[in-house]
Amino acid sequence: MKAVTDELSKTFAALADPTRRAILERLRTGETTLGQLAEPFDMSLQAVALHLKVLERSGLVTRGRVAQTRPARLEAGQLGNAARWLLQYREFWEGSFERLDGYLEDLQKEEGGT
């Protein structure tokens, strides 16, 4: 469990940056080279490479090797752990709150009716 949670901490730290989230969004469409990734950003190739490095260390991204390039790829597994964690929290409260909505409505009808 500890190993998993340490990974999660790194994942959330990596996801905290808007540039890195944008990079992940881009990678959802498939493997992408550093040059292609850097295109939409108003920053140097080096700066984008650094963000990619953080994503790599967090386990969210891996880099392959094709000829002279190292295309980056989204690693769904690590993202899945973070997403699952969040979903469990969401499910706990969403299930509760939907019932609470209905219950509050019933209570107010009762009050109004008497």
Partner: protein
């Protein structure tokens, strides 16, 4: 998805989880629903879970204990102590999952009413980042969940706020 949206925020720089959710009822009623066992049994717990035990001693220093029964029959217990009680605007308590006492969090819930709508804001402060992450793993066993890509939007939206 129906009803008002549940907003969840997971800050990266402090071991905290926050949620915001509006309810179509006055604050007094929402506060009572949050704290009175008569009401709690009607709503508290994930979908498919039944609140089979609900002990509440609503005073500062008093304790509470909720036992949820999962669809598979397993029981999950959450417990804590009330620290601050200001009906109908604020409730502070400790919060722990039985079996993972190291994850005890401090829960602050505020109830802000505006024109009959009550905005509930919850803030759980965990002792460590690890505790924050272990916490939800205890509440629900692994279920067959949608492919992670489908959940990315939710994850990214949460982290943006």
């Amino acid at each position: 998805m129906t009803g008002p949206r549940l907003e969840i925020t997971v800050p990266h720089d402090e071991p905290v989880i926050m949620f915001r959710r509006a309810f179509n009822a006055p604050a007094c009623l929402v506060f009572d629903a949050w704290t009175d066992p008569v009401h709690l049994r009607h709503w508290r717990g994930p979908r498919g879970f039944e609140l089979v035990g609900c002990e509440v001693d609503l005073r500062v220093g008093g304790s509470y204990r909720f036992t949820h029964r999962a669809p598979d029959g397993t029981q999950h217990v959450f417990y804590g102590r009330y620290r601050e009680i200001e009906r109908p605007s604020r409730l502070v308590s400790t919060f722990a999952y039985e079996g993972a006492p190291d994850t005890e969090a401090l829960d602050e819930v505020t109830f802000d009413e505006d024109g009959g709508i009550t905005l509930v804001t919850g803030r759980s402060i965990f002792p460590t980042f690890q505790a924050r992450e272990v916490f939800t793993a205890g509440g629900a066993a692994e279920r067959g969940l949608a492919e992670s890509h489908d959940r990315l939007d939710d994850l990214l939206a949460t982290l943006q706020s």
